[in-house]
């Protein structure tokens, strides 16, 4: 593969190939109860403890739509600048599997709740709009556990019936990096909205990845393969890279791509055929007669629209204007809701520039180092603001602040207490500093002479001496001022 003018290509033997990718993201709706039953959706419960008669498809049980999940889907649609369809229908997708108790999944087929929308990606080479084809609501299936017993499969129905939003993109993505940016942005929007927690480890976000390749300049789409159920951004990127290469090799050797469903083997880093188009399930979709079509009130959509929080794109604009950030900085600070909230809490009462530098510098480094999220950091926004205040009010120098931060990130102690207990406060008493400086001047008369005769560079020597004598605690600004006066 290669990147040319910011474009991603697969360089084959003879040709350059463009990769075309579309994503079907399955995002778990943030909701206390399931899509059609009152069972809890809490993650990590004992197997089969969050299963109602509806979820386990007992005879005569009927689904009843969870209105909150519908509102969440509308909210997400609005966040994706998408058309909300006032009329949508729940369909049954019929297939047999042991962890699908009803023998069908309730989903939306011909009439989804949300239509076309878009997401703006901020890429190194500029911003790019990616089209959203549709968003629909559907139930999750249960879980089959094959590795607990040599001859039996166990079924856990806790997930059975949990509400998912399937968000289908247009085939607008062109590289693994764009896919990464897309998933991150989508996740960020949903987290801002509170409609999906985006937790990939818990399976709250997974994707089916459609990949095809075409010769540079071709406008027709190539035959695609669908890689099912990939549950991390890294795996998506690896799967796409592998799959695109596989397709290019096939095409260049004169073979054809078979449209098929493939799976990604995370151990071998390769995709493998699951089933061909001919073996594809006939899902026999038809409208679920147990549920009435969903007719949404305009007023409900308006109400939700009004309640929308500020989303990453809007927040980015505001941050640029309000806090004099560059677009790059603003992007980073709004990329996750928690980070933007943290930043605003810090910047509220402290120096803008220091705030952004400290957060994007030392704080982010500490998060990376510990592999934790900003909300898990021991350095809370309040403590960070204190630290920055101590710098801007001259209590400590920037250099000392780094020392203090090192302690804070490990212990979560308040910076004030650290400064006090370690005696790290700067010497900011002019009289005291004058004494120190006077002594330096009298001890280095020759240097004073040289300085006064034009050797300006020696100013740094005097500053260094002052810091040394004060064990680094002298307020550098004050030292500068006093020295300038005394050396006139």
């Amino acid at each position: 593969m290669s990147i040319l003018n910011g474009k991603y290509f697969i360089q084959g033997e003879n040709e350059k190939w463009e990769v075309v990718i579309g994503l079907e993201v399955h995002a778990q709706v943030t909701s206390n109860s399931k899509l059609f039953s009152g069972s809890s959706t809490k993650f990590g419960a004992e197997p089969n403890t969050q299963v109602s008669l509806v979820d386990s498809a007992f005879p005569g049980m009927l689904p009843v739509i969870n209105e909150f999940c519908v509102q969440q889907a509308i909210k997400t649609g609005l966040g994706l600048k998408a058309k909300i369809n006032p009329y949508s229908v729940f369909d049954r997708k019929n297939y047999f599997y042991a962890d699908l108790p009803q023998g069908y999944q309730i989903s939306q087929y011909k009439n989804p709740i949300v239509g076309e929308g878009e997401i703006t990606l901020d890429l190194p080479e500029g911003s790019k709009k990616v089209g959203i084809e549709r968003l629909h609501l559907e139930q999750d299936a249960g879980k089959s556990i094959h590795d607990l017993d040599p001859s039996n499969t166990f079924i856990d129905l806790n997930r059975s019936g949990v509400a998912l939003m399937e968000i289908v993109s247009k085939p607008d993505l062109r590289s693994p990096n764009e896919v990464s940016a897309y998933v991150k942005k989508l996740r960020s929007i949903m987290k801002y909205l509170g409609t999906c927690d985006g937790n990939m480890q818990e399976g709250s976000l997974r994707a089916d990845v459609n990949v095809s390749v075409r010769k540079e300049g071709d406008t027709n789409l190539g035959t695609r393969c669908e890689i099912k159920n990939v549950n991390s951004i890294k795996f998506m990127q690896l799967a796409i890279a592998y799959e695109a290469k596989r397709q290019v090799e096939l095409l260049e050797s004169g073979k054809k791509i078979k449209q098929e469903t493939r799976l990604f083997d995370t151990k071998k880093n390769e995709t493998r055929s699951m089933r061909s188009k001919e073996d594809a399930h006939d899902y026999r979709y038809f409208p679920d007669p147990d549920l009435l079509p969903l007719n949404l009130d305009k007023s409900l959509i308006e109400k939700i629209k009004k309640s929308l929080p500020e989303l990453p794109d809007q927040k980015k604009e505001r941050f640029i204007n309000e806090y004099s950030l560059t677009p790059y900085e603003a992007n980073i600070l709004v990329s996750e809701k928690e980070i933007s909230v943290y930043f605003e809490e810090v910047v509220k009462n402290s120096d803008k520039k220091l705030a952004k530098n400290w957060i994007m510098g030392d704080l982010f480094a500490s998060l990376n180092e510990k592999n934790i999220s900003i909300s898990e950091s021991l350095v809370t926004s309040n403590k960070m603001a204190q630290l920055i205040d101590s710098i801007s009010s001259g209590i400590i120098s920037g250099r000392t602040a780094k020392e203090v931060f090192e302690i804070m990130k490990e212990t979560g102690e308040e910076p004030k207490k650290i400064i006090e207990s370690k005696g790290l406060q700067q010497k900011s008493d002019p009289k005291e500093l004058e004494k120190i400086i006077d002594k330096i001047i009298s001890d280095n008369k020759d240097k004073v002479k040289q300085y006064k005769s034009g050797k300006d560079k020696l100013f740094g020597f005097f500053v260094g001496q002052a810091m040394k004598v004060s064990s680094g605690k002298a307020n550098p600004q004050l030292v500068n001022e006093i020295l300038k006066q005394k050396l006139k």
Binding site: L53, S56, A57, F58, P59, G60, M61, L62, P63, V64, I65, R92, N94, F96, A98, P101, Q102, G103, Y104, T153, I155, D282, R284, Y285, F286, P289, D290, L291, L292
Partner: protein, 486 residues
């Protein structure tokens, strides 16, 4: 007191309320009849013991301000009953005991009734003769070698034989009205959504509707009152105030317009049915109603439409019986697919399999548009026919069935001829409107025949009133020699 079990439900309720009879005595008389029955096979599960306990308990502290105080009731075995086996007439659920109670039965128990037993029915309510039940066919008390109709055949047979004072069935394409007609009783299919489907083993969700099967129209009004009501657990349930059908019941139908659809005069209809229909018209006229000729032009498409829509939904509804969670599981097979195949091959009977196959076929890609989608469109046309007619008339009168009860085995191997039995009943289910069948006469062999009255959506009261007026004038009396006790 003369045999209490022969009396109408409203009469029994009156006697209980006047404390002229105790629930125990009442229940005993039905238990006696159940125990004496040696041939009808109308019960799958006999709950006599429990019922008697409940009756005795009721008598200790009788609560009389309910609709069904201390009344034992046997119900079709399609209603899930908590702690009592619910089989749907299938091997698949032969030993299935729900830990929940259907909304409809629960409504009955809340009105003071209790469970007397679970009644035989066609497997998953698929059949018109009660010959598809895994628990054997039910016999019509009218004559030993005759079917009671289906799918609520056990309910019809048990009621006609005085084994229960009233009962409930479900009607997807005529499963209440056809057996009611075959056994000389009253059967009502309410407006779709009036009675909750929650806890009823599903056959075809958009058509299934529970309803009362009773000895008189008054009984029917009382039972409907007890059953009907909004249920938030059923998304297709209609949110509507409860009605006092019995209190409002009147035989004054002067000035009402009754439509006679010409399309119901089918080829090969017997003279007996024709006479029955004519007699119905005459009685309505005599009661002051006006007879109006109407047309329901799409009637001829109703049966094929029904036999696409119902199997399609059934094929999906019955997918849950896979041996994984509950019910029958075959011991044969080495993997999941084989377990499915064997479980469903052994667990379902032929008629159920036939309908699953039809339903799967009509929903398959490439066939969906030609069958299912087209059927849905025709269904709208059929509904429109009724809507148009109800602009002109208050109700529609037709025969309930094209013939009287047929012989056991007569149509078993000829599904088309069996399906044709529902020709007058299925349009009503497709349109989601209410209809009642009342006994209106007999054929040459003294087998009962029913007349069907079809009404506007939620117009059950008017339907009951007309039925009440007709019932009074016809004065149908059935006298059975209780041969099944010998």
């Amino acid at each position: 007191m003369s045999d209490i079990s022969k009396k109408s439900l409203t009469e029994i309720v009156r006697l209980v309320k006047k404390k002229e009879i105790k629930s125990e005595e009442l229940t005993q008389s039905f238990i006696k009849n159940i125990n004496n029955d040696k041939k009808l096979n109308s019960f799958i599960t006999n709950c006599s013991e429990e019922a008697l306990k409940k009756a005795i308990n009721f008598d200790k502290n009788p609560k009389l301000d309910t609709l069904l105080p201390g009344i034992p009731i046997a119900v079709k075995d399609l209603f899930c009953t908590q702690g009592v086996k619910t089989t749907a007439g299938s091997k698949m659920l032969e030993n299935f005991v729900p830990n929940y109670e259907s909304t409809i039965t629960n409504n009955l128990w809340n009105e003071g009734a209790f469970l007397l037993g679970k009644l035989n029915c066609d497997e998953f309510a698929m059949g018109s003769s009660n010959e598809t039940s895994y628990f054997g066919n039910v016999i019509n008390p009218i004559e030993e070698n005759t079917v009671p109709g289906g799918s609520s055949g056990g309910s019809a047979s048990a009621l006609a034989a005085d084994l229960t004072p009233t009962t409930i069935g479900t009607d997807t394409g005529g499963s209440i009205r056809q057996p009611a007609s075959f056994t000389g009783i009253v059967g009502l299919k309410p407006t779709y959504g009036l009675c909750s489907r929650w806890g009823i083993v599903a056959f075809a969700s958009s058509l299934d509707q529970a309803g009362p099967m009773t000895k008189t129209v008054e009984d029917c009004a009382l039972m409907l009152e007890a059953m009907a009501g909004f249920d938030k657990k059923d998304s297709t349930s209609i949110d509507k105030k409860k009605e006092n059908y019995l209190n409002k019941l009147t035989d004054n139908i002067k000035g009402l317009k009754i439509g006679i659809p010409k399309e119901y005069r089918v080829d090969g209809m017997s003279q007996e049915i024709d006479n029955l229909w004519e007699n119905g018209k005459k009685i309505l006229k005599d009661s002051g109603a006006q007879i109006v000729d109407i047309s329901l032009p799409n009637t001829k498409y109703a049966l094929p439409t029904y036999y696409i829509v119902a199997p399609a939904e059934a094929s999906s509804n019955l997918a849950r019986y896979d041996g994984v969670k509950y019910g029958f599981r075959s011991t044969k097979g080495d993997n999941l697919i084989e377990m499915y195949e064997n479980t469903r091959s052994e667990g379902f009977g032929d008629e159920v399999k036939r309908r699953i196959l039809i339903g799967t076929y009509v929903l398959s890609s490439g066939y969906y548009d030609a069958y299912y989608l087209k059927a849905q469109k025709v269904r709208q046309l059929i509904k429109k026919d009724f809507d148009q007619s109800f602009k002109k008339v208050d109700a529609i009168l037709t025969p309930s069935t094209p013939s009287s009860a047929f012989k056991i085995g007569e149509k078993k191997n000829d599904p088309i001829s069996m399906y044709l039995n529902d020709i007058f009943t299925v349009p009503v289910n497709l349109a989601g409107i209410p209809a009642i069948s009342i006994p209106a006469g007999t054929d040459n062999n003294n087998c009962p025949l029913g007349l069907q009255l079809i009404g506007k959506p939620l117009d059950e009261q008017k339907l009951l009133n007309i039925a009440f007026a007709v019932e009074k004038k016809i004065n149908f009396k059935q006298s059975l020699n209780r041969w099944w006790e010998k």
